[in-house]
């Protein structure tokens, strides 16, 4: 579990995060949502330790990140997987080499075993005939799958995804969402997803944190989001006519 206590982050005089507290639970897909510029990516990077917070604490399994020695932080990072918005695959390596990379860096396992484990991860994300292709030779959806395979190959306790289905067609986006949720439940990972994809919110949002202008404006589940009367959330989530109708139907049916 990850707990975030009252964190603040400023860049110069610009305050981006303004006292956010939240808990991200194990075995659940925890979503951070909000408009562009609401501080989602900065929030995620603070949790990862890529940005140092101005105030507050980030706690991994009861141990504050700030109190960890460099070596402890390094070990913690080996227990994290991250899927970046643009996949962030190493473009000089093939798909298989990308997935093998974390194990080559941090384990003493022989090359054959590393390759075998990498192929298990590649199979898990349903990638076929792509092992020897370079990232430039595969589609956006395949890149996301490779990024997920690379993120899970070390069996991490924490999985972070920054807009994992941005730029994907709706069908592939749903496949990626479902894949992340399956993996989260299968390996009991604490998964934190940063998204503004409403399908993801409705489908896999087991816990949702809504950010607005650097504040946490709302917290709940994908069921709660239909019922909430929080104006900031409803303005954001039900901005399209289609989602307004979906909500209406859901509420009518649930009554």
């Amino acid at each position: 579990m990850i707990a975030v206590n009252n964190i603040e982050k400023s860049f110069g005089k610009t305050a981006v995060l303004k006292g956010i507290s939240a808990e991200f639970e194990q075995g659940k897909t925890n979503l951070i949502i909000g408009q562009s510029g609401s501080g989602k990516t900065v929030f995620l990077k603070c949790i990862l330790g890529l940005h140092r917070v101005t105030a507050g604490e980030i706690i991994y399994n009861k141990v504050p990140l700030s109190s960890m020695e460099e070596e402890e932080q390094s070990l913690l990072r080996q227990d994290m997987g991250m899927v970046f918005q643009g996949s962030a695959l190493f473009d000089s390596m093939t798909v298989e080499e990308n997935v093998m990379f974390p194990m080559q860096m941090f384990t003493q396992a022989p090359e054959d075993e590393i390759r075998e484990r990498a192929n298990i991860a590649i199979d898990r994300v349903n990638l076929v005939d792509a092992n020897h292709k370079l990232p430039a030779e595969i589609s956006g959806g395949m890149k996301k799958r490779v990024a997920i395979a690379r993120a899970i190959v070390m069996n991490p306790s924490y999985l972070f995804c920054d807009e994992p289905n941005s730029g994907l067609d709706p069908k592939t986006a749903i496949l990626i969402d479902n894949l992340i949720q399956e993996i989260t439940q299968e390996y009991q990972i604490t998964t934190v997803i940063n998204t503004h994809d409403m399908n993801s919110v409705m489908e896999i949002g087991e816990k949702i944190i809504f950010l607005k202008e650097g504040y946490k404006a709302w917290e709940g589940t994908n069921k709660d989001i239909f019922k909430t009367d929080n104006e900031a959330v409803t303005d954001f989530v039900y901005s399209s006519e289609l989602f307004k109708k979906v909500r209406k139907v859901y509420l009518e049916e649930s009554h």
């Binding site: 890529l50 460099e70 991250m82 970046f84 643009g86 962030a88 860096m105 941090f106």
Partner: protein, 246 residues
């Protein structure tokens, strides 16, 4: 001025971190081999081409401008040797390498920054300074070999140009090459070549690592990197020459 000091401070912090937590040996070896291929082997062609032809031009210019019966005939070979060993090969080629190798380093690290590959490495717990910069420093320790080739081809180019153009006789040119040869000049050239190699590996890495912005930022960083690497090479050249030859 404060901005410049900030850059210098951050550059030295980067160097310190580069020699911090080391990447796993087997991974590092592969990276070093790849960097040697990209930075050293990949530069041989352009260095050979430039050295041969500029060596020829240096010899022809010397021959044309010293066409005086009072000047000894061996002067062409002598001047070609001195200018190539002392300045052309170590300094001029290094400035060219600031463009070739420097831009490559800045743009490759800069692109990794833009596409979040550096963030991905950091999330995994990799010391990105060591992973990205240290192999380049090691590869560039082989840079003096490029300069040896440049020295040889520069002088050879001068010889070929002089003989084929009829500017000097074989015996006169060779006499000039052998005249008052001071081995310390070669040592001096290698000392500064080594120092330039460190600048060539680290300044472009700095500009790539700390670049901001998107694709345009990569282009800007490459240009800035070339300018500052060249400036640093020229300043270092002046400093080392004053220290070792005066």
């Amino acid at each position: 001025m404060i901005k410049l000091l900030e850059h210098i401070g951050r550059y030295f912090i980067m160097l310190q971190r580069t020699f911090g937590k080391f990447t796993k040996g087997s991974v590092l070896r592969k990276l070093i081999v790849r960097e040697i291929d990209d930075l050293i082997i990949g530069s041989l062609g352009i260095v050979a081409f430039i050295s041969f032809f500029v060596g020829g031009v240096v010899a022809i210019q010397t021959a044309i401008n010293s066409d005086n019966p009072l000047l000894p005939k061996y002067l062409v070979g002598f001047a070609t040797r001195q200018s190539i060993i002392l300045e052309f090969a170590p300094s001029f080629i290094s400035v060219i390498m600031a463009g070739k190798v420097g831009s490559f380093i800045t743009s490759s690290i800069g692109t990794m920054r833009v596409t979040e590959q550096i963030d991905a490495l950091e999330v995994m717990g990799v010391n990105t300074y060591n992973y990205l910069i240290f192999p380049k420093i090691v590869a560039m320790t082989l840079y003096p070999f490029i300069i040896v080739i440049s020295m040889f081809l520069g002088i050879f180019g001068g010889y070929v140009a002089c003989i084929s153009g009829g500017f000097s006789a074989h015996a006169d040119f060779v006499e000039g090459l052998q005249l008052e040869f001071n081995p310390f000049h070669v040592t001096y050239a290698f000392i500064k070549t080594f120092l330039f190699a460190m600048l060539l590996a680290t300044i472009p890495s700095y500009h790539g690592y700390y670049m901001k912005g998107g694709a345009l930022g990569v282009g800007k960083a490459s240009t800035t990197s070339f300018v500052w690497t060249s400036v640093a090479i020229i300043i270092m050249n002046s400093f080392v020459t004053n220290l070792l030859l005066t």
